[in-house]
Symmetry: C2
Subunit: 372 residues, 2 copies
């Protein structure tokens, strides 16, 4: 501490010592720009995901969109079609909310026969939480004048995949908005710059990035992403479709696989819980594989449709142990054990895997993913 340090910077970056704390990219080599990158939830604390670590799911890469040329079109079953520049949108009333976004396919390795061994965030980190700010859809829809016969809204992104999704107009009016800002600043390119539809608590695919078009319609568009994908064959032989809401889920981020307990003694078990139905009401933690449960502390304030941080003390005896967490939300929904989820949904699942996660601590303090 005897020599002056580094100079000021216009825009700061993480320490080079933290260069291992990155999104893990799992892209499709055969299809450029198709894949995901995972938020390293096991390395993070609190509830806000740094924007640079917010998960990505792209179908055809990250488009570079000149903000001055970008427009939002609202059309279809409306009295008059409207077009907005980003500057025009910014004059409307804005709201800001801390909200999670979770991909419908997050945690889908849970459907595998054997427990996947990887870092917690690299199996469950297609979920991130930001403060999003933008214009309520209800204002824009009212200005366009929605026809009484319409009950769906079709949203389309400006990427080369031209992803389209359908959502009920009632949801769009209730709490959806078009976001211009993420965590205080303009949305990052990979998260939808300059405009993203935010559909709180529902499958991430609905929160269309690079939003260019909203069509008010009588029927859903039945695009590939809501028919061939984001649907699931159930034990009855029928397929689930439009399974919008993300059910309550929780995950112990510390200790978790890839970390190691440094001898017996006191530790804090820490994790995240969230629910697309509302607020997390409680998170229970078990350190004996589910035989006994105790309530963890929830970091206040507990916000609806946002990551909730839970923590609880634990004295490790040095013997093998299995750690689990179980979230409940204020709708009364309780996160299921894996066996219960499979009994209900069958073995053809790919989306909406939200079962209780089990981490086994062995005598050396090593942690692995187990099914129990």
């Amino acid at each position: 501490m005897k020599t002056p340090g580094q100079p000021f910077s216009n825009y700061g970056q993480p320490s080079l010592q933290e260069r291992g704390v990155v999104r893990w990219i799992s892209a499709n080599r055969g299809v450029p720009g198709n894949g995901v990158s995972w938020t390293p939830l096991h390395d993070l604390e609190g509830t806000i995901t740094p924007s640079g670590l917010h998960f990505e799911r792209h179908h055809n890469g990250v488009p570079q969109i000149p903000i001055d040329q970008h427009r939002l079109l609202i059309h279809g079953q409306v009295r008059r079609a409207l077009t907005f520049s980003m500057g025009e949108l910014a004059r409307y009333p804005i709201r800001s909310d801390i909200l999670f976004i979770e991909c419908g396919g997050n945690s889908n390795a849970g459907w595998h026969q054997l427990p996947q061994q990887t870092r917690a965030g690299f199996m469950h980190g297609l979920a991130s939480c930001s403060e999003w700010a933008g214009v309520p859809l209800s204002l824009l829809l009212d200005e366009a004048g929605v026809d009484a016969s319409a009950s769906w809204l079709i949203a389309e992104g400006a990427d080369a995949a031209a992803i389209q999704v359908s959502l009920p107009l009632a949801k769009a009016r209730r709490d959806c908005f078009v976001a211009l800002y993420q965590n205080g600043e303009r949305i990052r390119p990979e998260n939808g710059y300059p405009l993203r539809l935010i559909v709180p608590g529902w499958e991430g695919v609905l929160s269309i990035k690079w939003l260019r078009r909203l069509e008010v319609a009588r029927e859903p568009v039945m695009a590939r992403n809501e028919t061939a994908r984001y649907t699931e064959l159930q034990p009855s032989g029928k397929a689930r479709m439009f399974t919008f809401v993300m059910d309550a889920k929780s995950l112990i981020t510390s200790p978790s696989p890839g970390q190691r307990l440094d001898g017996k003694g006191v530790y804090e078990i820490r994790g995240l819980a969230w629910s697309g139905r509302g607020r997390i009401r409680s998170v229970e933690v078990s350190t004996d594989g589910g035989a006994h449960w105790a309530a963890a502390q929830l970091q206040q304030p507990v916000l609806p449709l946002a990551f909730t941080r839970f923590r609880t003390g634990w004295t490790w005896s040095g013997a093998p142990a299995v750690l689990k967490s179980r979230a409940s939300d204020d709708s009364g929904y309780v996160q299921p054990e894996r066996s219960a989820l499979i009994a209900e949904r069958g073995r053809h699942g790919y989306f909406h895997y939200n079962a209780i996660v089990s981490w086994q601590v062995d005598e050396d303090g090593e942690i692995s993913h187990v099914y129990t």
Copy 2:
């Protein structure tokens, strides 16, 4: 939208189109590493400040500290001195809170005879708001065993300036903590990596960056930063000292100088309010220079000792107008007009300037800073 976009990235960055949204550096050329950089509050929305844009105040630059070698020492009037590695600290119970930090010298151009003409953030942006996570000081102090005769805590940073500050032990026990994380990830180097003392609601200088030492003491250290600086001569001839709490303040960030109204019509007035005493209770806005006031909407949830976003609609007639905002907090404190602040504090002020800010809109929609 016919060609694939850019590939995935391990750690995202803002759009190059936003390269103008940066901290403004105001450094002392004669003293390397001494100065400030300002958060561009006029370009931001919501309440979270992106970590890369959190304000800086350095006395001798940003030290590069190997996290594995850094230690926190707690000593002085204690039963036993303690030393913690960052790994040892991380085993203690953690809490996370969204909190503002404001430099005691923020907005000090308000003491000038003429209103400074600059962007809102470049006069008032030595204030930023993050989710900080770390270990409560009360736990560490209890473990060290504080002597009953002690009533102060002296904190020291590991930068080349070796900044020292004193704060009452009662405050340290009440809500202070040593933070390892900011906005989810490890603290950025310029904000104190790997460890920062967080003193909620009090002068930013107390939230010591690169924290290396905490000394429990019977008296304050009376360092330069609490005697020659951060003190102020009052009209009575006596100096104010240990003026810890940051009083309630508010600022209209949009519209604000450097922005321009694009013709008469409807606008949303947006701004930030905060108080070191607790929660913001109300923000009133005037568009006629203070003759009439109306309550703005506060974005929920309103958190104590955190930025609160306020917004209100305004129809601009095209005639000259003066915009003001006035914050009140839940202690009953009301942000003063400039004349009242000067009447109370005199003309030797430099710190703790929190008077109502006035923006004048002229007929062309240009905005300037005025005293009224």
